[in-house]
Symmetry: C2
Subunit: 441 residues, 2 copies
């Protein structure tokens, strides 16, 4: 029965995540072009600076963003927030992202550096307050401004911008740090009124080597016209159900940023919160954001498993989420999953200490917990706890089969209401400790 | 500069914690006797059942307890709580503890089993509502009642009780699960009025192998006479500053219990909250509980380092504690400490996402963070952040020296008030993942 951990690790290492999760083609929204370059900030010569530009002039773009709630906000977060506040999210035409240095805890000089970068891009665009900026990488170090300014100039002067697949993939690569694959998702959608639109999303994952944070950056662009207030509430709701529902190690960075630009290049009426299309677009954006967010978990440091924690029939969404999060962040649950141990006691324990808003959400006599297989094997659902009673005769062989799958689901049915929350997490492996225990190199 | 993790682990493994932390003698309060036995519940034949009895008849004893807040409370927790409620903490003369089976999530039959155990001890004592019970070990399995009942009978009928050092050490061993050493602390104190009294404490740590929880059990007994209401508020305050200030992996078990019995065998006036001695006894009990709680961290699964997180000059105790806890539970901080990486960015990041009650507790321009050496080497304090500004020229060699110590301190000076909180934690090692990722054996 006993499988050595090193064996597990080797098995995990043989999965070629790049081949599995990086697309070979894509569809991209009208009116955007992108560029990326290697400025030399990353010592290995990899791409480390990227720009996305809106080229649609038919109407002003809308932009929205959700930022880290960490009280130590990095300079690019402070600056991007102020640009959005100042413009009410209208007329933002560029996002510039650098990797290799987070420009975090760098004080006044760091903020000035971020302003210089944004200013340089604005100059090339010929308008003010038009650029957002993001950074990821080493914390507490200043940006190498000479290299970055040179990189910006070259991209604009040589007109390195393109809208083909390779340009977008390059942009996705340029924001990576210790990610093992670039995260690019593209999709075309139709609305009942006949409108076709496209979403393209890029994210970087919870990865780090240097002195470091598990920064999460992501942006989604679309050619739909959406009012900036509607875009902000749509993005907030989508992020609450996607990027805020993933866990690698429970740490929240100083730089986390998800932003969205809608340039309105598709010729249809502008969507606001009262439009008949609003709900459908919101749901499409949410699903799309979930796909992108899941890629971040798949690339979790040292992860050998992708685990969906599905909390159903809760009294309210918030409590469902708190419970899903407690399970997803529990080191005991995560190590048990790594060890392929059908350890429902740890799951129940995490549910029990989740800090619920409404105690009535949890009735110990109504709770059901199961493991669910993600392949076609039967029985798909292996019941561990039924109406609060542990199943002492759990089929251990079947449990081992399910837990040996690279993808699996933990299903919690609270039986107290109708709300639900899905959370995505990964296991905690020896490799995680190795990566994060390493000296800064 | 790079030290391999396996080298670190080997270094840690060479520390003989038993020799370092288990006393060879002790002082014990008057009027208590203890016994322990191996019932066979633990397959390896180790001690797994222990009883502590109050034999002082000069006045009724006082008892108090602090229980897990996990919503899935184990049967012994439910029962002990009801005994204390019913008796107002007066006249409790026994604690019976078994290890190897947690009697948790066992429903009605589990509660009956716990009642049977308590009833059997009460019968030998010749009085009702006189016994508290605790269990630790495998979750979701029934107690082997035949073995336990036989063990209780044998201890009483053979009169295995003693009050010497070996009897107390046996009791400490009988409540261990995967602890690598028994946790026994004893100390004599004097009060200004000339009264001498003794505290003896026993705890078991966050350890597990089987299907399992990181159960924390502890009890402290004293021969001082203390009113039960005063004892309860004293214990609550002490636990908030000791057992509630330790972290191994942030998971909270269904069985966690700390209880205290004061039998009043010392002939002095009964202490209540208005007594002049109350504050001093409370402070002595708190320091004593801290010693006991620290032993639990020293025996943290896979731990190679003992880390004191000291948050000073906070606006209030609660915020100091929330910040200390965020640092202590951060997987990124814990792996960095394991890797001996002077990674202040991760510490600052954890401070930044701590959920403060009062935002004014944290002023990013006033915060100071240092590593502090625990040996006599100089400079003792290595400043990482001064008034919010990271020290970019940190002496890395000195940082490595401090971080290579088995004991170290992270000092956070918030500079916004006068309250403080100390928290004790350990690092996160490969060994932790190995222990907790293992199949149930």
């Amino acid at each position: 029965m006993k499988i050595s951990s090193s064996l597990l690790q080797r098995a995990a290492a043989t999965v070629d995540k790049y081949a599995l999760y990086v697309p070979k083609s894509g569809v991209f929204p009208k009116g955007f072009k992108v560029a990326s370059t290697a400025t030399g900030v990353k010592k290995n010569g990899n791409l480390d600076l990227g720009i996305i530009l809106n080229t649609n002039k038919s109407r002003p773009s809308s932009a929205a963003a959700v930022f880290t709630t960490n009280k130590f906000k990095a300079a690019p977060v402070v600056l991007s927030k102020s640009v959005l506040d100042k413009t009410d999210g209208e007329g933002v035409d560029a996002i510039i992202v650098n990797s290799g240095c987070a420009n975090s805890v760098t004080g006044e000089v760091g903020l000035k550096d971020a302003q210089t970068i944004v200013g340089e891009v604005n100059d090339f665009l010929g308008k003010g307050d038009a650029t957002l900026t993001m950074s990821t990488g080493v914390i507490g170090q200043r940006l190498q401004m000479d290299k970055i300014s040179k990189g910006i100039k070259q991209m604009f002067q040589k007109d390195s911008f393109g809208s083909d697949f390779d340009s977008w993939l390059g942009l996705a690569k340029s924001i990576n740090t210790t990610d093992t694959f670039p995260k690019l998702v593209t999709s075309k959608f139709s609305l009942p009124n006949g409108t076709e639109y496209t979403l393209t999303g890029i994210a970087k994952g919870a990865g780090m080597i240097c002195p470091n944070m598990a920064t999460l950056l992501g942006f989604i662009v679309t050619d739909l016209p959406i009012k900036s207030t509607a875009l902000q509430s749509m993005l907030r709701s989508s992020v609450d159900r996607s990027f805020n529902c993933i866990s690698v190690d429970g740490d929240m960075s100083t730089n986390d940023t998800i932003c969205m630009i809608a340039n309105g290049a598709v010729n249809t009426s502008v969507i606001d919160e009262s439009s008949p299309e609003y709900a459908q677009v919101k749901s499409q954006v949410t699903e799309f954001a979930q796909q992108l967010a899941q890629l971040v978990v798949r690339d979790g440091e040292g992860a050998t498993k992708f685990v969906t924690v599905n909390v159903k029939n809760a009294l309210n969404f918030k409590d469902a989420k708190v419970i899903a999060e407690a399970i997803s962040n529990s080191m005991l649950v995560k190590t048990a999953l790594y060890g392929q141990d059908a350890n429902w006691g740890r799951i129940l324990c995490a549910i029990g200490y989740a800090k619920l808003g409404d105690l009535a959400s949890l009735d110990p006599t109504k709770i059901n917990v199961s493991f669910v297989a993600t392949d076609d094997s039967e029985p798909r659902e292996l019941k561990l706890i039924v109406n609060g009673t542990p199943q002492l005769d759990v089929d251990e062989a079947r449990a081992s089969e399910i837990l040996s799958l690279p993808d699996l689901e933990v299903l919690v049915n609270l039986g107290t209401g109708k709300e639900e929350c899905q959370f995505w997490t990964c296991d905690l492996s020896h490799e995680y400790v190795t990566i994060n225990g390493d000296y800064r190199s």
